[in-house]
Amino acid sequence: MSNYTDKIREISERLLKQGKVDMVIGFKKGTVPMMNEPCFVKKPEDISKLVWDSHCGINLANYLTDRKEKIGVIAKGCDSRNIVTHVIENKIKREQLFIIGVPCEGMIDRRKIASMFQTGSETEILSVAEQNGKIIVRTKDGEKTSERADLLQKNCALCVHRNPVIYDELVAEPVAEQKNIDRYADIREIEAMPPDQKWQYFDDLFSACIRCYACRNACPLCYCPTCFVDESRPQWVGKSTDPIDTKTFHFLRAYHCAGRCTDCGSCERVCPVGINMRVLTRKLEKDCFESFGWEAGLSLEQRPPLDVYKTNDPEDFIK
């Protein structure tokens, strides 16, 4: 996948030189390994900043909201689905975009890399390289190698839309989609718990949350001018790290993503304390699929599930 870089640069340079786009949104190397940063390239001479490797997990659709210029954007499967969501929610026009599609084989979970080393030890990771499906991690004490497939982000391991759903140009041939994936095994496990155990599960899950809102900020769906957590009159959600306030926040954050979340994993990826808040968004994803037959971001023609209705929608829960 890392050989995509040349092709991305070539396409981006052509687009900028021909004036087809005003800028290209992609990734550049971060200051530490595994931390690629979003990068806005506006001049052809800066094109060499753009890179592509297995650490481009952030969702670039997040940077398109309400943009007015013509933009070339690099899109993995999940980014492209979020671009579709953006287009149907009128946050950007399709005509403004030149989508450089990237068939994706999943991104690497930096926490899994860190856990290859003894926990607690302050081993600094100096570099992470990739070769023939293996990941080579170098520290000052030496090298460790592991299978790439074992180090994928959790959402990437469950991904069934690796190829972009819309694009203007692909950087490589589409990759094979993963088949026979059971996306909701853990969700069903929680569903089967008795209420008190569920409550305890989520208590434990969110106990580390510091309410930094990184999950909200990294999420391409979260673009309200005033977020519900910032409202103060009336103030629906407490701002403290009280467990109930934290739960209310996570509940509403997930609920706002109902029928829109593509499970790109940005929220979990950016969480400084590694909370798996995707168990909430994926529950909604599962319900949307089971109740309304909906998968987010697959078509520009269909309206999202909470924007339409059927007269025979499920209502066994209503008296």
Binding site: K198, T248, D287, I318
Partner: protein, 144 residues
Amino acid sequence: MSANWEPKIVAFFCNWCTYGAADLAGVSRMQYPPNIRVIRIPCSGRMSPKFILSAFRNGADGVWVSGCHPGDCHYLEGNYYARRKFSLFKNLIEYMGIEPGRLHFSWISSAEATKFVEVVTGVTDAVRALGPHEKFVKTNVKVA
């Protein structure tokens, strides 16, 4: 739980139907449990998840949302949209550990005073059986 504990239930009623049914039950002198605190909303489509969470956070033992039958909405389709939101909401809040039986939904037209009495009795019994709600309550909250 003290022996004379009574559940507090916050009831959100659509102005055009269930609120009318409650009114009709009242003027017809029908008997029903006095555990509901009624909040009138313009349409069940006006319900926001924040309202329900807020009720629970402030100590409600149960929440009940009721609107017009599908097809009867004063605004033609408000309750159809609401139905989709409610279905996801109910699943999610029960997924997080609120007991099934705390949150209720119903369709009651303004002529159905008998159904209103049946449902309010049913809702109160269900919440009473569960006992006081302690999970989503913000304990140190100061309500002005």
